[in-house]
Symmetry: C2
């Protein structure tokens, strides 16, 4: 059966019809795979998600995590999931065979992550973090580190983490104060505090391996002095695991996403914490960004996934729930209608479908770019995908995160009072989803990243590539008469985006950086809406082609075409307001004296 | 001290400077009151809210309500609050002295409700429901009912409720099936099921008095056959309380607003439930609407109040939290800046202030209208305020509810990761606030009420009055040079609203009711933004006048002027998108075949 938290058909549509997963197998790294293998992997993920992840969704949410005897008791299934994931090759899925990995394309791996996240977002966090931590060691660590940590991370016996944030350094990593003092024995003596470390301590594994940012005393100030370390909870001494002086100091009580505990860590309180440098000193942030960029796509994926699960809950509910009658039906003795037939409910559902499937489309495209960056030889083509991926990452993280919240909220609204109660999982989705605009860089940070860095670097090379990509799609669209008005509408929005961009860059020269970046969040929002319109046009073109070719699966493809039309009819016009706001030259916020706020 | 969940200064500004609470005292009903009395009432509410309500905000949230031995154990403070409220005259505050009330203007009473709701929304629900239930009995019930129920309701010994919703009749009240069979003894035999009844059962009172909608067999079909009954949990027989066969059948586990239990009720399972008709048969919905309209303002008030509490939490946090530096400051050794100084954070805070204070302004205006409707003699003036109040009620309910959620979400975002944890109350506010677009009529229902009824009744008389009111404000604004561009901007938006309205009414004739109402929710949103712009202009004019008159309290008034500018700069442009969407003639949603949704 098709699980009703994701659409397998839609995943296949994106993997094989809209983008081209199979084309990756012509590259040496992915040569061993074929469609049959990909199908098996995706189907296994659906089966595991439905049978193992979904049934414990509510259970994992209900008990707030408590710190006792130095650890956090998590749901007993966590240990089993990690071991099963290890045995099934899911933690090493994207990693090289040489270290025990499976060399799966990131695109397919992310499609599977989407499936797992839709079933139970908290549960996938554990193996997901280990996968990311292992990636850093594999790519930048010494053979010694690889030998010491990778087998146990990939087997699911040990947990990997990302330990970045500190009490005084959240968005501002430049202000990290955790120190790593070199010793004569090759390792470093670690000392400091970390907060908000996901899965930073729990009883579902035998050891926790922190990939930790810290500063080597005497290094350059700011982000240039950040290095990356492996800091295990228990270190290996003479073949045995001994305590490494990393203590869980607090556990946070979160509103949602409660199945995965988030910890505060105290490092080296007894002056006996050893860290092992990954790669070169002072290169930590660069290394970490490799993981963070993947993690950012992962956040987008998780956000779209939760919205997907909420959408299908709302879809099923609105089909069954009878309430009210068509406005033209005045006879109260006539039977009530399923609420899905009310225009307002249809609009809410189309919105959810547009957000879920549009976001997933962008994320699949970005994953495809990431795969190409991984396997292409150095040169123009690789550089092109690198630039596009860099530019699109803040959007692929933020649009699903911000609009995912709205989408889940609309799912909840479709269920009325029941949506607010735990009879249905939507209220949990609503709580779970709220984390996404916060972790892996807040929306505000991504706005500044997009406008202040990605759009302007290399004289706007990435931005020009982005415009060229969309205009290629527009060209294809104009060849089909029913698509022409849509192409014209998106072309107009794109022209506005160019004008806004020119205007803002002009502002950076005339008024300074602060004015330039003041509304970067709204610029990101504008960019997001336009990017989604593009994704819907891409999907619409594939749907149109499929319908031309064969009359099968009409409903699926018509669904794509209607949602495309929905997006251009109801969502794309938001660019009118955003353009107007961004072209306004009054610098209200920058100049505001904050004492006026009350 | 000024409590940091509301601004007392802002309440006074609205009560005395923007609108004119004192002018009500020239009407006989309010003659006994004066400014000193009003001040004392408001100050008492602030003190009680801070000392009694706020300290138990989190406690009331933490334990989900469970049904045991036929009742729900609520926080022990609930009993005390109800009795204190009774003794202090708060439950009878707006009711006539003749029945033990205090004859307080609704405007001041709502200001106090705002204060209590901001401190603890769940806690104010209990006395608030009793106040509403008492109002129905006082206005429409017999002297016998008044004598039997009002004293105990107003003293806080008994709990009043509104029992409307049934499993098959939520938004569609026409489909109620609870029956009331007349008996020879004057009472009715009640039988049926109710769901989602707030405070429908709990151990903080000695009796529960349901104001219940039901149908008398043989009456007209649909809403015309609905009657209103008093249905006590325990009825009075020979001066004693005996069980009246109303059983709590289930308690809902809600995401938020958890301090007030919501019940399912089983009525007359043992064929021994007596109901007492209020007023005339078949007039129940009309009576209930009196309570519902007040309750709808109450929901708007609660929504704005929660957003207020979240705003002040965010304001205090962003003033203290150091993170990052100005974009122009590249030296990482310089101290970090309070995040309130970042332009993006200022924008988020201005948004919250705009939503909170704009909503409250509209709600005070509506309350003022409600007071005038209550005390004016029949005639044109009264009719005028009735029409304006009718028109504005769906907006005063929905704008604070929908935008309150966004506002609290932005408060949460200001706190970053901490906003997602229960170290601060914002995560609770986020959960609590989500109820508001659902209860007392969903946003979709209010959209249809506004467009399908309020805007069109009496040939658009209410809409014309609304336009005239705003244009009067515009005239005042144009007299001040700095206000002229704002007046022009609002005039343009108003013209758009007229065009959209004409267009949609035309659609009702050319394409039918379903097309006409398909986007009523978006029409309500458009109407809401314009109404808020008006409220900000009104407030701005008062602030301007105050600054002209005296140089005192500059910060407060400058805050108003900056928020006015914020609204016109960042919020009013949303009308551009909404107008474009609403003028589009393609009927995408109405014609969508729902099988395409997946």
């Amino acid at each position: 059966m098709t699980a009703r938290f994701v659409s397998k058909r839609n995943l296949e549509f994106l993997l094989y019809e809209v983008f081209d997963l199979l084309s990756l197998t012509k590259h040496a790294y992915y040569r061993e795979h074929d469609r049959q293998m990909f199908t098996m992997v995706l189907e296994t993920s659906l089966k595991m998600a439905e049978e193992t992840f979904l049934p414990i969704l509510a259970e994992m949410d209900r008990q707030p995590p408590e710190l006792a005897a130095g650890t956090v008791k998590v749901h007993p299934a966590v240990r089993k999931i990690l071991r099963d994931f290890g045995e099934g090759g899911w933690i090493g899925s994207i990693h090289p065979e040489s270290v025990g990995g499976f060399q799966l394309p990131l695109m397919l791996d992310n499609a599977c992550s989407f499936v797992f996240s839709a079933a139970n977002y908290s549960a996938i966090i554990y193996p997901g973090l280990s996968k990311g931590a292992a990636g850093l060691i594999i790519n930048f660590g010494s053979q010694e580190l690889i030998d010491a940590y990778i087998p146990k991370l990939l087997s699911g016996e040990w947990q990997g983490t990302m330990a970045l944030t500190e009490p005084q350094a959240g968005s501002s990593l430049t202000d990290l104060t955790t120190t790593a003092e070199p010793t004569a024995n090759g390792h470093y003596k670690m000392r400091g505090r970390k907060i908000f470390t996901s899965a930073g301590e729990h009883d579902g594994v035998d050891n926790i391996i922190h990939l930790m940012l810290a500063k080597i005393p005497g290094g350059p100030p700011g982000v240039k002095g950040i290095s990356l370390f492996v800091v295990p909870k228990k270190r290996i001494e003479n073949g045995k695991l001994v305590s490494n002086d990393v203590a869980a100091s607090e556990v946070y009580h979160k509103m949602g996403y409660r199945g995965a505990p988030i910890l505060g860590l105290s490092i080296g309180e007894n002056n006996d914490c050893r860290g092992y440098l990954v790669g070169e000193p002072h290169q930590g942030l660069r290394y970490m960004f490799q993981m963070m960029n993947e993690a950012r796509l992962g956040v987008g994926m998780g956000a779209a996934a939760i919205a997907s699960a909420a959408y299908y809950t709302a879809l099923d509910y609105t089909r069954q729930r009878l309430q009210g009658r068509k406005p033209t039906e005045k006879d109260p003795s006539k039977p009530q209608t399923p609420i899905i037939e009310h225009a307002d409910v249809k609009r809410m559902l189309l919105f959810q479908k547009a957000v879920v499937e549009g976001s997933l489309s962008l994320l699949m495209q970005c994953s495809y770019y990431a795969d190409l960056v991984k396997v292409l030889p150095d040169g123009d083509e690789k550089r092109r995908y690198e630039l596009l991926l860099d530019l699109l990452t803040p959007i692929a993280k933020t649009y699903p995160s911000e609009m995912g919240i709205q989408s889940v909220s609309q799912s909840l609204q479709c269920l009325g009072g029941y949506g607010y109660c735990d009879d249905f999982p939507v209220e949990q989705y609503y709580r779970d989803a709220r984390i996404h605009p916060i972790h892996e860089g807040t929306t505000g940070i991504h706005g500044m990243d997009l406008l202040g860095r990605k759009v302007t670097i290399k004289d706007g090379a990435a931005f020009q590539l982005y415009l060229a990509e969309i205009r290629q799609t527009l060209e294809r669209a104009r060849a089909i008469s029913t698509f022409q008005p849509l192409a014209n509408q998106l072309e107009a929005a794109l022209t506005s985006l160019e004008q806004v961009t020119t205007h803002l860059i002009g502002l950076s020269q005339s008024a300074g950086t602060e004015h330039f970046l003041a509304d970067a969040t709204l610029y990101l929002e504008l960019f997001g809406v336009i990017t989604m319109a593009w994704q819907w046009l891409i999907q619409g073109l594939s749907a149109h082609a499929a319908l031309e070719k064969s009359p099968a699966e009409t409903d699926f493809y018509q669904g794509k075409l209607h949602t495309l039309r929905y997006f251009f009819r109801y969502e794309l016009p938001k660019t009118l307001a955003l353009t107007s706001i961004l072209m306004d030259t009054s610098s209200l916020t920058v100049e505001l004296d904050t004492k006026f706020l009350g």
